[in-house]
């Protein structure tokens, strides 16, 4: 295809898209004009019926908990795919590379970077735990907190200590966290089925709004998702890191 043909085709497509876009934008409601009914309902019943003050988390882990179950397993499945593909590439040459990785440290990992990483690790883990367990009270929850938690061990790598990162957060830990979190979230749903009669119907005491242990299943589900997300990212990252640092192509020095 010549450049000219491509430009002509782009021109036709762009003009069409432009017309549709302008037509659509003209029909938009005014800025800030909210027409959804569902939002108002959630606004009204979130605190009274679920004792959760952060309605987004209440929506994710209670009202629409089933949707989140699907999302959980999308993440689980994608990480599984990454692991399967990357391990296929791996060969027997990995073992001798362990020695090399043992000595691996970044030339760029200065003392200042290491000191900063040392301060970052506990901060990230504390912040991650806080965000995971306070999902039902303040913005945040399992996904956000889980990724912050996974960033803690990553800071060890940032300090140029890859093998130590594997010692702080071994592969098995990530895998177990990923699997246990996914299972835990499904178990919350099953608990609803067994004790309340409906899949993902809250079966735990609701507590007092604004307290750490409140809003029934939301907190438990948030912790399960936090475990899953941090495990999933740790597994994916360490697979990529293994690939980038340990494994070289067969026959190459």
């Amino acid at each position: 295809m010549t450049r000219r043909t491509r430009l002509v085709m782009f021109g036709i497509a762009a003009a069409g898209l432009g017309v549709v876009l302008i037509y659509g934008l003209a029909g938009l409601p005014a800025f800030g004009d909210y027409h959804g009914v569902y939002g108002h309902v959630i606004d009204r019943i979130g605190v009274t019926e679920r004792h959760a003050t952060d309605l987004v988390t209440a929506l994710n882990f209670d009202f629409r908990a089933f949707d989140t179950l699907g999302e959980e397993f999308i993440l689980f499945g994608s990480v599984l795919g990454v692991v399967l593909i990357l391990r296929e590439v791996r060969d027997d040459h990995e073992r001798p590379r362990q020695q090399e990785a043992e000595e691996h440290s970044f030339a760029g990992a200065s003392a200042a970077l290491r000191a900063m990483a040392l301060g970052l690790i506990p901060t990230l883990i504390a912040l991650g735990v806080y965000i995971v367990v306070h999902g039902q009270i303040t913005p945040g929850g399992g996904f956000q907190g889980g990724l912050i938690l996974a960033a803690g061990p990553l800071a060890v790598f940032l300090a140029g200590r890859y093998v130590r990162m594997k010692r702080v957060a071994p592969h098995a830990m990530g895998e177990i966290g990923d699997a246990a979190g996914a299972m835990g979230y499904a178990l919350v749903g099953l608990g609803g089925l067994v004790f309340a009669g409906v899949f993902f119907k809250n079966f735990l005491p609701l507590g007092i709004p604004g307290h750490l242990l409140s809003a029934g299943q939301i907190d438990v589900a948030s912790v399960a998702v936090g475990l899953e997300v941090s495990g999933a990212f740790l597994v994916a990252w360490s697979e990529f890191l293994d690939q980038a640092i340990l494994v070289r192509r067969n026959g190459a020095r």
């Binding site: 990724l147 996974a150 990529f240 690939q243 192509r249």
Partner: protein, 86 residues
């Protein structure tokens, strides 16, 4: 629309353009981080703090690490292939 909201929208447009215009993938990853911060500010000033938190963790930790590691892997493979050819 408040001034803050307009500024956040403008920042997203500018940094988004920056990501497209940056040609070197490593540099692009860094600009992507700035774009992520702009998006975070956008979500925050439009009163979606949950989404802002998700955006900040994905754009500063999740995505760049994956991209940089994949880039490293690709480059190493290219170098190894070149060594083999020699």
């Amino acid at each position: 629309m408040t001034v803050l909201q307009a500024a956040a929208l403008a920042a997203v447009a500018l940094t988004g353009g920056g990501v497209v215009l940056a040609t070197d993938p490593v540099r692009q990853t860094l600009v992507l981080g700035v774009f992520g911060i702009a998006l975070t500010m956008l979500f925050f000033v439009f009163q979606a703090p949950d989404v802002a938190l998700s955006e900040i963790v994905v754009s500063t930790v999740g995505l760049p690490v994956m991209i940089l590691l994949a880039l490293r892997k690709v480059r190493r493979q290219e170098r190894d292939r070149k060594e083999e050819g020699e």
